[in-house]
């Protein structure tokens, strides 16, 4: 079915990418808007709108009991290349030469030790509770 009167595309159906992008943006916009609304009443609450958007998208997927192929392809393409999206923020390090020179060693030690400790505690508790639950921790 299309305006030119050609036979409709054989399966697989063409991916509707604009609709997938629209769905992602609408969820994010709804998330950001709801946080702005909450913060206009309780300004001390800090919470990122996109995470609310993720919850909203999740609810929509559960409710519709299915995943549109275009959304599957679009989200897959973004998530497989997630590292790229952090590059601009990482380059921001060039702005903080003086602070990093002054507290660099202290901060590096605190960050490395704290990150390793957090990884160990989190994975340890996860496996412990899995085992207590009677699950297979492997």
């Amino acid at each position: 079915m299309n305006d030119a009167g050609e036979p409709s595309a054989p399966s697989p159906a063409p991916l509707n990418l604009p609709r997938a992008i629209l769905a992602l943006l609408l969820c994010q916009l709804a998330g950001e808007t709801s946080i702005l609304a909450v913060r206009s009443i309780y300004p001390e609450i800090a919470f990122p709108g996109p995470v609310v958007g993720m919850a909203l998208m999740f609810v929509l997927l559960v409710w519709r009991k299915g995943l549109d192929a275009g959304l599957d392809a679009t989200s897959g393409a973004i998530l497989r290349n997630l590292s790229l999206l952090f590059v601009p923020a990482a380059v921001g390090i060039v702005q903080y030469g003086p602070v990093l020179r002054q507290f660099g060693v202290t901060l590096a030690l605190a960050l490395i030790a704290s990150t390793v400790l957090t990884l160990l505690v989190t994975v340890g508790v996860f496996l412990l509770v899995t085992r207590l639950q009677g699950g297979d921790a492997e």
Binding site: S83, A90, A113, F126
Partner: protein, 239 residues
């Protein structure tokens, strides 16, 4: 007649197109290097690309604001990418459901460890209060961390840098650490790196396995929420 290279460069160096192209080019090069090195954890594409770009900015005397005018188009996609995390979450719902209790316990333990250990170590080494406040939310995703830093009396811009460094440390360390410990539960591994190292850890987890990436994404979202809550409670008691 030769083209006026100086005036062409003056134009290009201020153009968003140049810095957007440079960001993609640096990432493609970094990813090529990472693949060449068999995705070795030390060859993190974020680190390589950022180092390349930082060198170019310093060498050409370009300030970060000019760079970001081009790079913002990539940076913007972090929002839609966060929303997109719902897709693997939904697809792996059965696995996630079985792990609700381990996730809740690990989240609480990990979130408290992340903030308390970082602040404790920096405090013992003599860091001032402003730096400590900037350090506390470093394991949460950048937009949350910056808000929390502000409400704790820290420096949001410094927090942004600490968040990125935390992400990179976790992404580099997680695979060798977990392999050394013989942990083969990729849900647990992913969840840990999501709590410790937010989105950059999640990006690394997706390179290793979809299950690890899914749990990392959930952990990142939940840790942002829980840390925000802990800071609210802290401020209620301390203030």
């Amino acid at each position: 007649m030769t083209p006026d290279i100086v005036s062409i460069w003056v134009y290009l160096s201020a153009s968003p197109l140049t810095w957007l192209t440079a960001t993609l080019a640096a990432y493609v090069a970094a990813d090529w290097v990472a693949v060449r090195l068999g995705r070795h954890p030390l060859a993190n594409p974020v680190v390589i690309a950022a180092a390349l770009l930082a060198t170019i900015l310093l060498a050409t005397g370009t300030d970060y604001g000019t760079y970001f005018e081009g790079a913002q188009f990539v940076h913007f996609l972090l929002g839609p990418a966060t929303v997109a995390l719902a897709v693997p979450l939904w697809r792996n719902l059965a696995t996630v459901r079985r792990a609700l209790l381990p996730m809740a316990a690990a989240l609480l333990a990990g979130s408290v460890t992340a903030a308390v250990s970082a602040v404790g170590i920096a405090w013992a080494l003599g860091a001032p209060a402003g730096v400590l406040a900037s350090l506390a939310p470093k394991s949460t995703t950048a937009p949350i961390a910056m808000e929390l830093s502000k409400s704790l009396g820290g420096i949001p811009a410094l927090t942004a840098v600490l968040v990125v460094m935390t992400g990179i440390i976790g992404a580099v360390v997680v695979t060798p650490l977990m392999n050394a410990l013989g942990i083969r539960n990729f849900a647990a591994r992913g969840f840990a790196v999501g709590v410790a190292s937010h989105g950059i850890g999640t990006a690394r987890a997706f390179q290793v396995s979809e299950i690890a990436g899914t749990f990392a994404g959930i952990a990142m979202g939940l840790n942002g929420a829980l840390t925000s809550l802990l800071v609210l409670v802290w401020l209620a008691f301390a203030g």
